[in-house]
C-alpha cells in the first residue's frame, strides 16, 4: 500500500531533474528491504504521473537483494526473510545492511527538442 506514497516521491524527484522536459524512462534501484511490490508501484506510478513530465514514462526497476554484514565476524550474506541475526555470532553480532535499503532514481531519459540544429 505504500507504493502510492512512494510513487509521489519518485515523480517529485524526477521533476527536479527533468527541468520541464518530457520523461520517457525512469530507471530505479529498489532494495528488497523496501518491501515494494513492483507491479503495484508501476500501477500507482502511472496514476500519479498523469499531468506531470512523467506521464506515459516507463518505470524500470532494478531489484537489489538484501545483504547483511556482521561487523563482528566480517561475514556477509543474503537474506530472504527479515532475520537480522548473524548466523555465526548470534545476538552478539553487529549487523549492518550491506544492500537492500535502496530506493533510488538512478537515471531518467528525457525528450530533448533539437533547438541547436540551425543557427
Amino acid at each position: 500500500m505504500h507504493e502510492l506514497s512512494l510513487s509521489g516521491a519518485i515523480v517529485n524527484t524526477v521533476e527536479k531533474h527533468a527541468a520541464g522536459r518530457p520523461v520517457s524512462v525512469v530507471s530505479m534501484r529498489v532494495g528488497a528491504l523496501r518491501q515494494v511490490v513492483p507491479d503495484t508501484l508501476d500501477f500507482y506510478f502511472g496514476f500519479v504521473s498523469k499531468g506531470t513530465v512523467c506521464e506515459g514514462a516507463r518505470l524500470e526497476l532494478e531489484l537489489i537483494p538484501a545483504r547483511l554484514r556482521c561487523a563482528a565476524c566480517e561475514r556477509e550474506w543474503e537474506i530472504e526473510l527479515p532475520i537480522f541475526m548473524c548466523p555465526e555470532c548470534g545476538p552478539s553480532g553487529q549487523i549492518e545492511v550491506a544492500s537492500g535499503d535502496e530506493f533510488e532514481v538512478e537515471t531518467i531519459e528525457v525528450e530533448e527538442a533539437e533547438c541547436i540544429a540551425r543557427r
Binding site: 524527484t13 528491504l33 533539437e114
Partner: protein, 233 residues
C-alpha cells in the same frame, strides 16, 4: 526530438528528508524534543498517551494529532488540558495514510513550541507508510498490541526496524488470548535485535510507570544532545 539520458542517483525520499531536517532545525532552535508515535489503527496510541500526558514531572508536553479525518483523538487529549494541534490529512492532502515532513511543516505555525519541551506526533494509524517518512523527530516509538498477533514484526519489518522503542500494549489480555509472547519477542529480536521494549496495558496501568519514565527522560534531554544523534533526521 531526441532522447537524452540524465544521471540522477538520488534517493526518492531525499526531498522528504530535506524538509524533515528543516523541521528538526526549527524544533532544536525552540528546544523541543520530538517523538513520532506510530502503530496500526486501534493499537492504543491515544490511550497510552492519555495515561501519561498529565503526569510528566518537569516536562511540558504537546501533541500533534495526525488523522485522516475527525478530531476524536484530539478531543480525548484536549480534555486532559494538554495542548493538542490537529492535523487532518484528508481535506488538503487527499487523505494520506501517513504524515510526511511537509505536512508537519505546514503545522509548525500552529504549534505552541515556546510552551512545550516535548512534542508527541501521533501519526496516522498504519504499519506501513509512516515508517518511510521521517518528519523531523528525535525518536520513533511504535505500539504493537498483542491482539495483532505475534508474527507482525516479520510481516512489517520496515516499521519494526524504524523505531527506537516498541510498546507492547494490551498485555492484560495475555491470559485470554493464544498470543505467544515469547514468540513475538523472538520475532521482534529477529527483525530488530535488542530494540528497547516495554510491556504495557493502557487499561490496567501495567508498565505505565516505565513508559512515563521513558517519555520524561526523552523530554528532559536538551534537544540536539540526545543519544543516537547521528541516526536522527
Amino acid at each position: 526530438m531526441h532522447r537524452t539520458k540524465v544521471r540522477v542517483v538520488e534517493e526518492a525520499l531525499d526531498a522528504n528528508n530535506t524538509i524533515a531536517h528543516a523541521n528538526r532545525a526549527d524544533f532544536d532552535r525552540a528546544g523541543v524534543r520530538v517523538v513520532n508515535f506510530m502503530s496500526a489503527p486501534g493499537a492504543g496510541k491515544t490511550a497510552l498517551l492519555e495515561r501519561v500526558v498529565r503526569d510528566l514531572p518537569g516536562v511540558r508536553i504537546g501533541v500533534l494529532e495526525g488523522d485522516v479525518q475527525g478530531s476524536m483523538d484530539s478531543d480525548r487529549l484536549a480534555a486532559l488540558h494538554v495542548p493538542v494541534t490537529q492535523l487532518n490529512t484528508d481535506p488538503s492532502f487527499g487523505g494520506e495514510c501517513h504524515l510526511d515532513a511537509n505536512m508537519v511543516r505546514s503545522a509548525l505555525p500552529e504549534l505552541p513550541l515556546d510552551e512545550i519541551d516535548l512534542l508527541v506526533i501521533e501519526n496516522v494509524g498504519n504499519l506501513v507508510c509512516p515508517a518511510e517518512f521521517r518528519v523531523g523527530e528525535d525518536a520513533r516509538i511504535m505500539v504493537s498490541s498483542i491482539t495483532e498477533g505475534e508474527e507482525k514484526p516479520l510481516k512489517y519489518p520496515l516499521m519494526f526496524r524504524a523505531c527506537e522503542l516498541v510498546l507492547i500494549n494490551k498485555v492484560d489480555l495475555l491470559p485470554h488470548l493464544d498470543f505467544d509472547l515469547d514468540k513475538f519477542l523472538y520475532n521482534l529480536d529477529s527483525v530488530h535485535p535488542g530494540v528497547e521494549r516495554i510491556l504495557v496495558s493502557a487499561k490496567t496501568g501495567e508498565g505505565i510507570d516505565e513508559w512515563r519514565g521513558w517519555l520524561a527522560r526523552m523530554g528532559a534531554v536538551p534537544s540536539g544532545a540526545g543519544a543516537g544523534a547521528e541516526a536522527r533526521v
